[in-house]
């Protein structure tokens, strides 16, 4: 125990197993869930936790635990794709802005600033009403919302790299354009972006469940943590367990990815020990 560098790896050690479990839960839901999440029997509705149903049944007699496990699929998938979209779009814009500088930089960053000043949930809600409520559109909407954040980050990192000596050296020997970006800039952007991605992932999961909670994300009967919490709210007096399990799962997911982000930061760039 003593030989482990806790300062560098501590958080990762705690968060990675949970993250792995979450990914497994979504990938192998059918194996882990005791019941079919859609199977209903109104005769057993609103029953509390029991040996047969660890987290009780919901308003249609479906097993809450199974639905919670299956709901992880939506959260994980939306998180991954939304982050991918944000990361890609943001990196393209950020690196371009920093690379070209001047007017392009100014315009792009002004636009990013304006987009950034919209509260995320506001944009998300309007975009979802715009695009139509489906999981695919949730990925798109949240991805778009992440672009300004990633753009700012990659631009800042690129600017730092640009000031470094070795970049000037590379330009001297004739490396330019795409090769410069690919060889020198992007590898340095990688670290901070990965850290940001982990945090963005947890925020994506939060946003998706907030959207489903408001009825603008995954629609019932498809189970999502957000819409389960919302339904559970209507039954909070008779059957508080309906909200409890998905809420706990959501909390755990977001928390572990936030810790993962911290852990990655400790690993890749300890100076940023925030």
């Amino acid at each position: 125990m003593g030989r482990i560098n806790w300062r560098k790896y501590g958080l990762l050690i705690f968060s990675l197993p949970v993250v792995v479990i979450l990914f497994c839960a979504s990938a192998f839901s059918s194996l882990l869930a005791p019941y079919d999440p859609y199977y209903l029997d109104v005769m057993y509705m609103l029953e509390g936790p029991s040996s047969g149903h660890l987290f009780g049944t919901d308003e249609l007699g479906r097993d809450v635990l199974s639905r919670t496990i299956y709901a992880s699929q939506i959260s994980i998938v939306v998180g991954l794709i939304a982050v991918a979209i944000g990361m890609t779009g943001g990196t393209v814009i950020g690196v371009t802005a920093a690379y070209f500088g001047g007017l392009i930089d100014n315009l792009l960053m002004r636009l990013m600033d304006i987009l950034f000043s919209f509260p995320a949930i506001l944009l998300a809600v309007i975009l979802m009403a715009n695009l139509g409520t489906s999981i695919l559109n949730a990925m798109l909407a949240i991805g778009i919302i992440f672009i300004p954040g990633f753009a700012r980050l990659t631009r800042a990192v690129t600017q730092t790299v640009q000031r470094q000596q070795y970049l000037e050296a590379a330009i001297c020997i004739g490396v330019s354009g795409p090769r410069l970006i690919w060889r020198e800039i992007l590898p340095n952007v990688f670290g901070p972006v990965v850290v940001e991605a982990a945090v963005a992932f947890s925020y994506a999961v939060l946003l998706e469940s907030a959207l489903s909670f408001l009825g603008l994300g995954a629609q019932p009967p498809e189970p999502s943590w957000g819409n389960m919490i919302n339904t559970g709210r209507g039954f909070i007096e008779q059957a508080p367990w309906i909200s409890f399990a998905p809420g706990m799962a959501l909390f755990l997911c977001v928390f572990s990815f936030n810790i993962l982000g911290d852990g990655l930061r400790d690993l890749l760039d300890p100076k940023l020990n925030k």
């Binding site: 109104v42 409520t133 603008l216 019932p220 709210r233």
Partner: protein, 514 residues
Amino acid sequence: MKYPKHISRLAVVVAGTLALGVVFTAGAQEAKYGGTLVAAFSADPGGFDPAHGPSGMSHIAIEQVYSTLLLLDANAQPYGGLAHNWSQSEDGLTWTFNLREGVKFHNGEALTAEDVVFSFDRIRGPDSGYAYPSQVADIAAVTAIDDLTVEFKLSQTTGPFEIYMAFPGSSIVPKDLVESGWDLNAKPVGSGPFKFISYEPRSAIKFERNADYYETGKPYFDGMVYRIVSDPTALSNGMKSGEINFSNEVPPKDWEAIVSKEGMVNAALEGSRYYWLIPNWETPPLDNVKARQAIAIALNRAAIVKGAFYGQATPLLGGVIPKWNWGYADIEFFKPQGDIEAAKKLLAEAGIEPGIEITLNMVSSWPPMMSMAPIIQANLSQIGFKATIETMEVPRYWDEVWGPSKFDITVMYWLSPLADPDDFVTNTYFSTSGVNVHKGGSKEMDDLLLAAKSAVTIDERKELYRQQQALSLETMDVVPLVNAWVLAAHTGQLKNFKPMRTGFLKTLKDAWLE
């Protein structure tokens, strides 16, 4: 001291009378004046002008502020409103109404036949924007014979005419005021039991008693507040805490808890808000009547009543016209639990192989739809249909599913604000109706509907509707599901309130608070 005999006999008589008097007054209900009724509703009104609409909540407010020629009692039977007397000509094409004397609008102006003519011409005009043109389409002319007599000339006999005259849209508005440019939509002025005070969007509509109401002595409340509470849980909490003393929109999931509270009165009754499953006739094999009948027979309506309505609905085992209505055709076509075997047999007869994939398009904003979707899906799979549930919220649904009829199967409900069988069935079954999204119907059905509407006597109409109901089950245009109850509950302090089948609240003028 001994009293003289006649005095002691007198004393006994007096004592006896007093005792009897106490007994009688204790039993009799003495109307009490005063108090403010706080009612809760879930939606905002769209405006307060009877010529506009449609908006159910608008009508709930309009019926308190305005008066109509006729009114409906709790059993949906018409009685005199502004008209104390009315008659129909022999050929059924002319109706004459005799107005009460001395009726005043809230601004003090007298209500005369002129106002009646004006009100109806207003909604009959081609550009009126009136949302119920079918009710006034048969009126050829409205004329004021004298100050207190109005004559309606119809282009064809119309059975439900009296019902239409009791409809909030047929409210009488003040001609001079409207012509002077007054915006009734924002500030309604009528001759109803209550005067409009204010409307705060998403908050409340306030009314005060009309002391000059033509029904002397009524209404009894000092005023009413219609609170708008869009969150169903909040509505339930308000009723449980006593803040709200009346609602006819109690959420089904909280009904038991609310009604079992001390002092709460259960005023639930069956109205006409039925749900039907709509198979798209343009999607094979749903174009085959046997397929539609099979689906209809297979559905477990009892499960839907329990799962989607918590028991507060009546399964429709035959046609959609409910039991309480005179048009009810006592035909039992479905079993409450459904009959999977019989359904499978029908499909086999029609040569339809199991394994067909169809989509069930449901509106996600309405909890009963969401609850019944999986139940329907399960029933469908039992007879060999692989149904996937696709959900979306209301505005998208109207644009993408309902409008262009892009669905295989969907579910909708019809809330009839009229108590006439014509309103229950025409919109659904008439081939050119705007609501005929399933692209069904037949000439036979159309003819029956038209005949039943225009027949003159109730008996004639009753027989025609019986035929129509039987036909509707033979052709299975749409699949009747359940009739959800009007869940009305109120504090025990509200006395003499008779809930209306239509879900309207005109009868509040006859009720008082202890």
